[in-house]
Amino acid sequence: MTPLLEVQGLSKSFGGLHALSDVSFDVAAGEIFAVIGPNGAGKTTLFNCLAGAAAPTSGTIRLGGERIDGRAPHEICHRGLARTFQLVKPFRGMTVLENVKVAAFSRHPSAKQATTAAQAVLDRVGMAELAAVDAETLNVAQLRQLEIARALATQPQLLLLDEMLAGLTATESAAMCERIRQLPREGIAVIVVEHSIPVVTSLCSRAVVLCFGKVLRRGATREVIADPRVQEAYLGNAQT
């Protein structure tokens, strides 16, 4: 069976800086996959390349067998890949429902259908009671939920989540993890960028570790985390 997402030999340079070099991995349908690595390892650049916000210098990205590398972000969205951003910014002067409607319009061109679809997504993520609230008044946890709601409203097959737990309290991140865990049951594969190792091990079956733009290790999450090279690169060398 072909994997849902297939990344082969992906490189991205900014002038002389090799942000990503020869990165390869694949993600199966219904899987929660982790991309981990120290700050500056190229995780966000990788997301940008996958979502079309940056064009890769070389290499191929296939979604459901079709090449998406170098395509525009809105085309990639229509093919079923959605992403969230680290810094969540709602659209100004719009309610929560209207924010989600913007995303729902990608599948439902009529305003009526888009409203229905957006409401359904808000019900699904448990934000229905916030529908009429001005999105700018939400707190951090609610903004993250809104970010997920917007991404889900584009009906993705694959969802890229960029540090969704940063800055959340323990209770909030537990709720968020629970939400992420449900996504494969709804037929959505997930790639997370996350710093918390316990979260990554509990959520993700497989992981890839990036370090200075290169793949340091990939495979089952527990084995990857246990690798001394990964520990050294990612956690710093704690052993004396």
């Binding site: 969205c77 951003f85 659209f91 009529s110």
Partner: protein, 315 residues
Amino acid sequence: MSSFRTVTMVTAVLLVVFAAVSGNRYYLDIFIFTCFYGTLAVCWNMMAGLTGLMSLGHALFVGLGAYSVAWGVSVHGWSPLVTWPMGMGLAVAAAFVIGMLCFRYGLRGYFFAIATLAFGEVAFFMVSATETLGRSDGMIMPISSTDIPGQLQFFEKWPYALIIMTILIGTIGVGEALMRSRTGYYWRALRDNEQAAEALGVNARAFKLRCFMLSAGISALCGAFYANYVAFVDPRSVLGVELSIQMLVYSIVGGMSLLWGPLVGAAVLVPFSILLRDYSAMPGGDIVVYAVLLAVLALLLPQGIAGWFVSKWRT
């Protein structure tokens, strides 16, 4: 407010004012210019306030409309049925080319504003130097002593008032309908965060172009009307940067977050500035008073008159 209610209210207010001033040629003239600048400000703000595209060269499109009419009728005797669509077509095409160039190279914010300003100024100087367009002296359109409805020549002013009112109401109607559709949502999303909007499936370039072309088309329509009403066009009045700045000022004073906000700005400032000009005792005194009023309004009502009104209404 539903789009139907906004259009109904604007229509009702316009009809009441029209009925009140229709007996007086002087006031009717002010009313016509208020509608003219109001329409321009609304369609300018469709780009700036609602889509985040600040154009400083909108006079270019007004000029294309006005000069199409003036040139068409004085050189070829063409009817407005030919010249109006021609002017609008030229403006839409110009917006398409300028938009493709700007959006292809990712010009945003101030850079987009400067690029549009440059195109507008180039047109200003090109027309000022073109023999067949009357150079900087402008073009006087042929006027007959009797009404020629087919050439939109009327002695009375009320037919012109009805025409520009129709254009204004149509603009508000189309704008309101768009703001409630996918297009309007995409425009606002692009204004706030283009990257996020694209990730949610918005084709940024296509929807920005759509906005630019619509706004340019309506501007040209207003320009065509202006030529037929005033029967004289020159580069300063229809291609000058002052005209582009006026649209910006009315929008800021009226309120840029609402489709009809700029109309309120024009409704306050246009009559005020005409009356000031006509009644001020000291030369230039009207401009001083006007400038002070602008500064006071900007300080007291940063969201504009309409924005202030709506926030009062909601609380």
